[in-house]
Amino acid sequence: MKVREMMERFGLTAATGGKGLEREVKGGYCGDLLSEIMANAPPGCVWLTVQGHQNIVAVAVLREMAAVILTGDRRPDEETLRKADQEGIPILIWPHSAYDLAGRLYESGVGKPAAA
């Protein structure tokens, strides 16, 4: 599934300018401690977090993420948006909890191991 398709399907809105929406979503990851995300997030994932600090862009680039989703109706800092547009990393907004969205994404097959 591409980022654009995921947005339409789950009602996510983009905070960034529209770059990177053709990236392929290959999995998901949740967390707010950036040191832990830097170590463990899988490539191609969408990352669900409440952190809006500009360092999330560097972490997303480092881990080759498809997109970052700010949950709980949080908004990214202005500098974060500027850097995300520069790097072509989409930052999306989800008004509810990460748990809620993660469950829906997983159910739809994102990051779910293929049935045997």
């Binding site: 040191s35 600090h53 500009q54 972490v59 500098e79």
Partner: protein, 252 residues
Amino acid sequence: MAGDEHSALREFKADLHIHTCLSPCGDWEMSPRDVVRRSRAAGLDLIAVCDHNTSENAGAAMREGRRAGVAVLPGMEVCSREEVHILALFDALDQALAMQAFVYAGLPGENQPELFGYQVVANEDNEVLGENPRLLIGATTHSLEEIVHCTHALGGLSISCHVDRPANGIINQLGFIPPDLGLDGVEVSYRIPLAQARERCPMIGTLPCVTSSDAHFLKDIGRAATVLRMAAPTLCEIGRALRAEMGRGVMV
């Protein structure tokens, strides 16, 4: 002349991060008076009183400092919205109180003493003046950048707290230290010898580095301190020592 500047330099044993009974997690015995007396007994020349998101006990500690012969600076350990702890250090109480007004404007919630601890405001004669009702243990709505900017605008120094620690350390919360943040320095906890800080925590890079007790109990005062070579126990001199200007510096 430079020679005069150098000859006037001496070493000050400094602990720039000590709590009082105003911090919810600070022990009841950490009255401003007794924090200062204990600091003197521990051989400290200079301390900064840094409670969580407040400076309301700093004035009492400064007055006791003048009586006891310890230089006391007013400060605060501010919690940013990224849940990073950062020290704001000042020379004068009015600067710290201006910082406190900025912090209070972005500090939601009320304390629940039975859950988080009592927040006692006391004077230099060990009399309780009241309790602070705010949720001092909480995070502010201010970003790290806004906090550093406000600290500097008020003439203060910004030092990122216990960067070696998982809980509320900048490296753990944000993965790395934002290079353009404009920090005046970083603090490592008492768990790491200052001489090993850069090796144990490579992300500190070339930022000036100090260590502090971060004491919440009287017995912890003195468990870590930083020796600063400088002309006087003032904020301006601390800044110069951190920048290693004119023969000043952090002794490691």
